[in-house]
């Protein structure tokens, strides 16, 4: 099943007065990568938060950022069929489809069972045999019919030290919208994941380990110390340190690529805020090229925000959408 985000309209939300961003090219084809750019405070993060907030809204209350906006609309294509998720009072210039079934209204005040996920689940899901078609990806999500998901990486990305008793059994429930988190209690931390894999699924661990080693962090290799239940990093000259002691840039790269390998289902949407966080231009190339290579292995729509022209150049100027008014 294909999930594509085509456009977003947001009115009166934080720094956004009234904007509509198109995630497709001049021929109407959805961009595989879209780079959201703009000065600080132009609303890049707000757009990502609106996408995530509206897509995952179910029974819970809306985040305050969404409760205060005047109107927002996300236009999706699900298996080629148009769906709009709308929130707030429709402006006069908006013309929605006459087919009520294709419109998902979200209420600011009350929970609703009418969600994007519900609409997706009503579609005739084809078997998503991830392991066979896309070996190595989302190994714990391959059983059963899993629709594509939305993976969101906020701009704060770092590894918290987890070892010993904090290591938990790897349980990776399917989440339609997954938001990366950095809190120490986060049960799905990367350290915990790798230690668990080494203990319980040595084959999976080997695959994950070679994936990490192939990323080539200046010759660093990744290992698990069973006595202490720690992930350790061995440098080219034989020194060792813990996983969370990697530089902030290395952590950024590791988190993004490892988490995608672990959670990415085909035709998902991946949102990355400030993709270049702490990365030297050489590492920006490394990350961008790894993402493009990943897209060749498993199709997904990538939407990133950045202040780095390096990143924009890699993905191409036609993929760039500048939010700053000029």
């Amino acid at each position: 099943m294909k999930l594509e985000l085509r456009s977003i309209r947001v009115k009166n939300c934080g720094p956004l007065d009234d904007v509509r961003v198109e995630f497709y090219d001049d021929q109407g084809k959805t961009l595989p990568v879209c780079v959201l750019a703009g000065a600080n405070g132009s609303g890049k993060t707000t757009l990502l938060e609106v996408i995530v907030g509206m897509a995952r809204h179910s029974g819970s209350r809306l985040p305050s950022r969404l409760r205060n906006l005047e109107y927002a609309q996300l236009d999706f294509l699900i298996e080629g069929q148009e769906y709009s998720v709308v929130l707030g009072e429709k402006p006069s210039d908006v013309v929605l489809s006459a087919n009520e079934m294709s419109i998902i209204h979200i209420s600011k005040d009350r929970p609703s069972s009418n969600t994007l996920l519900n609409r997706i689940m009503k579609q005739d899901l084809q078997q998503q045999n991830v392991e066979r078609e896309f070996p190595g990806f989302a190994p714990h999500l391959v059983n059963g019919n899993r629709p594509p998901s939305i993976l969101y990486f906020p701009h704060t990305r770092s590894l918290e030290p987890v070892s010993g008793a904090q290591v938990t059994k790897e349980k990776l429930p399917y989440e339609f919208v997954h938001r990366f988190d950095v809190v120490r209690s986060f049960s799905g931390s990367l350290n915990s994941y790798l230690v668990w894999l080494d203990y319980a699924e040595p084959e999976q661990f080997k695959a994950a380990q070679s994936f990490l080693n192939e990323l080539d962090f200046e010759g660093k290799t990744f290992h698990v110390q069973r006595k202490t239940l720690d992930v350790i990093v061995r440098t080219r000259d034989g020194h060792e340190h813990k996983l969370h002691e990697l530089s902030s840039g290395e952590q950024n790269l590791l988190i993004l690529l490892m988490e995608l390998r672990r959670r990415l289902l085909p035709h998902s949407i991946v949102l990355i805020d400030e993709i270049e966080n702490s990365l030297h231009p050489a590492y920006q190339h490394k990350l961008a090229q790894a993402l493009l290579k990943m897209q060749q292995m498993i199709p997904f729509q990538l939407i990133v925000t950045t202040h780095s022209w390096e990143i924009a150049e890699i993905f191409g100027a036609s993929a760039v959408r500048v939010l700053t008014k000029f």
Binding site: R9, D17, D18, V19, R20, V21, E22, D25, D26, A37, G38, A39, N40, S42, D93, W309, A312, A317, S318, V320, R321, V322, L323, T324, K325, F326
Partner: protein
Amino acid sequence: MTHAITSHSPELTEILFKAGGRIVVLVEGVDDQYAFRQWFDDRLTEVEFFECGGIIQVEKLLAEFLAQSSMKRGYAIIDRDFRTEEQVEESRQPESHCFVLRRYSLENYLMDVRPICMELEVVSGKKVDAVEIEKQLLALCQRLKTICAIQWVCWEKRVLYWPDGYDIEPREMLIEKAAKDFGCSPVEAETLIAEKEDLIVARLTDLKTAHTVISGKRLFHWGKRELGFDKLDKDHVRRMLVRGVKQAGLPDDVKIIVVDSIFATA
């Protein structure tokens, strides 16, 4: 009104990306960009200068910018070349977005007596006679009159300019080559060039007016060799003179364009 965020040309995308919310000022080349960024480095929070690779690209990008802009905070500063005083004045209207320098090009502000003296004193460690430098510059302008006259005809005929370092003497050789480039006889070329030489010579009475008709790029090339910067790298000298201009005080014309016109209206 809804702000529709779609794609632009790659060139405009790069400018909008790098400008953020700052005023955009388009200039012709990297040397111009370097000079303006240095001269206004304390205001780069509110303005950014972008080189476009020539006058044609400047005009094209400015038109694209203004056509798609709601705030119209985009401007261009271009060389005077052989434009008339009236054309320069016309570009200074309050609603203008494209300003023409009063001197021939940006290098004409670098090849001025005060910055040259200041930087020559740094290089030689000796006091430099400003009157002597002015005389040398004017003498050099006299020697450049024929090649600048040829450049003027090239400008009118839309023929490619000769390289900045092209020989400036003897006159007969220059006319012979010009005739080939213009596709006419040497006699016809001589007439065309002499007419422009007369107009140029009339402005060589002092350095200020000389700078409106003598190519600053050629003046820089030959001045670097003949004024005492010959042992230094060309880019190094340019950087020194940009600094010298700033230390000596920015030229009024540059301040009028950037501060009084662009900053005041943007």
